[in-house]
């Protein structure tokens, strides 16, 4: 089994973790351990970007995937997000694209935006 060394991205501490099969070392908490196992098997990332917004008091709506998506599908997810056009008003947490690019993960708004001219 190959040994993999990685930097945990779960919290700002950034522990260096080594994973070999089921064994991991160097983490400081259970979340880091679980993340490292996942990272060794199939890395996942949260995608954050913006999508154009129509009729809102701002022109770009910041969005993110509700949970992590497979890292090797980030570009597909991004392409799908880039094809969206959202209408104001929007509430934070609102789904702007369900099941983004077939990952099973929703793309959600990260900001509340009122319609232009309405408060």
């Amino acid at each position: 089994m190959m040994k993999k060394t990685m930097t945990c991205i779960i919290c700002p501490l950034g522990c260096r973790i080594e994973v070999e099969g089921e064994r991991a070392q160097g983490y400081s908490c259970p979340r880091g351990r679980d993340w490292a196992r996942q990272e060794a098997a199939a890395p996942m990332r949260i995608l954050t970007t913006t999508v154009p917004l129509r009729g809102g008091e701002i022109v770009l709506l910041p969005v993110r995937t509700r949970g992590p998506v497979p890292k090797d599908r980030l570009w597909e997810c991004l392409a799908r997000a880039n094809s969206l056009l959202v209408e104001a008003p929007v509430r934070v947490g609102q789904v702007v694209c369900p099941d983004l690019a077939g990952t099973g993960v929703d793309l959600i708004a990260t900001r509340t935006v009122a319609e232009i001219g309405k408060d």
Partner: protein, 412 residues
């Protein structure tokens, strides 16, 4: 106009302080914000990594701000947006609003103006001055708020967190990031950002490198980077040319203290912010400060916690406007600055000291020394200049001496 407490700046520091002041029972709390919306710098931080400590979940900067914005109305905090504070005097705030100049009588004032980016003017970069050179934060705003991509091929100077975040952001927006160059032998950003912003996208990080030349007349054509020696002088023969149309400068932030200076507040030359005590009181009675205006924080959660201490300080001062004897707090071995810079006696409970180390340490021992005696000591796994260190010292350990010094001992 009148308010018991006027908070200048509606970023996380200002909102956190205002909400806490309401929670502690103040009637009339007013936030003044120069932008159209509250939220501060967080409105352009669309990436995640905020709030793990306070909310127990990983939020984006924008979501973090939204949590506080949504509480302002229900809590009864008054908010003036599109209004820029021009002048502060003890008990008085003058601001320019869309309706003209306004004057507000303030019982107490909390400064929460955040920070601004260092620019290359302050850096003395040789070469021409073509278009295509931005600070990383400006580029972040252009891309994330205004929807404008500054260029197609970029080099980033400085490896602080904003530079790293922008390397990823530019890549996702379809630009090529050729290099991130860092003068020091270590990165100024968090390890997690090196991993998820650079390594994920195979963006090279050149440590001990600097910019030696800027090419291009009207528009940037390229930059030359070179390796530096221990004295930070370019090594002959190490020059390398990178053709690019965009250069981002991520070379540090400085607290925004025009107003503080005007008011005659004592500043700490190293942190760049007001010298404060444990209640975040500045040298001017009744004027408090929190967030990036005091010192540059890397975590929004630390800003929020500090803002609550400032609110408590202001509320206590409004109830009883007196200040006790002071005890100076200063940086010692391998520490660049400490906040608070002084304690106002009496102190009770535990006191939080925040500081930055000058050089990285694998194993560190933090010591608090007073009158030549170590009064408090703690081991710590690693200390990096990129990370603010916090220690909590029980006040029972703090003697009635004149000063405290904080050291970070340990091997490289």
């Amino acid at each position: 106009m009148k308010a018991e407490l006027v908070v200048i700046g509606g970023g996380p520091a200002g909102m956190g302080a205002a909400l806490e002041a309401k929670r502690l029972g103040l009637e009339d709390v007013l936030i003044i914000e120069r932008e159209q919306f509250p939220g501060g710098i967080l409105q352009q931080c669309i990436h995640s990594g905020f709030g793990l400590h306070l909310f127990g979940e990983e939020l984006t900067g924008v979501e973090y701000a939204q949590r506080f914005i949504d509480q302002l109305g229900p809590a009864g905090v008054r908010l003036l947006t599109d209004t820029m504070v021009m002048e502060v005097a003890p008990g008085l705030v003058r601001a320019l609003s869309p309706a003209g100049l306004i004057e507000i009588q303030a019982g107490a004032i909390i400064l929460a103006m955040g920070c601004r980016e260092r620019t290359r003017g302050a850096l003395n970069i040789p070469g021409t001055r073509p278009a295509g050179i931005y600070t990383a934060g400006t580029a972040q705003r252009l891309i994330n708020v205004e929807g404008y991509l500054p260029g197609r091929r970029a080099v980033i100077l400085g490896s602080g967190d904003i530079g790293l975040i922008m390397a990823r952001r530019l890549t996702l927006e379809g630009a090529d990031v050729l290099a991130v160059a860092e003068l020091m032998p270590w990165s100024g950003g968090l390890a997690r950002n090196i991993a998820q912003c650079l390594e994920d996208f195979a963006i090279p990080l050149y440590l001990s490198h600097t910019l030696v030349e800027i090419h291009g007349k009207k528009r940037l054509r390229g930059v030359t980077l070179a390796q530096v020696d221990e004295e930070f002088q370019p090594r002959p023969g190490s020059q390398r040319y990178f053709p690019c149309d965009t250069l981002l400068l991520s070379v540090g932030l400085v607290p925004e203290n025009e107003l503080s200076r005007q008011l005659g507040i004592e500043l700490d030359p190293v942190s760049g912010g007001p010298r404060v005590d444990q209640t975040l009181s500045t040298s001017v009675p009744g004027v408090f400060a929190c967030g990036n205006v005091v010192h540059v924080h890397d975590l929004a959660d630390n800003v929020t916690l500090e803002s609550r201490r400032a609110a408590a300080g202001a509320v206590a001062w409004l109830a009883r406007p007196v200040r006790g004897r002071e005890l100076a707090v200063g940086p010692g071995e391998n520490v660049s600055y400490v906040v608070p810079q002084r304690l106002s006696l009496p102190v009770s409970g535990t006191v939080s000291f925040l500081f930055r180390v000058r050089k990285p340490r694998q194993e560190a021992v933090i010591e608090v020394v007073s009158g030549g005696r170590v009064i408090w000591r703690k081991r710590r796994r690693g200390a990096l200049p990129a990370e603010m260190v916090e220690i909590k010292v029980p006040t029972a350990d703090i003697p009635a001496a004149d000063s405290l010094t904080i050291h970070c001992r340990g091997e490289k």
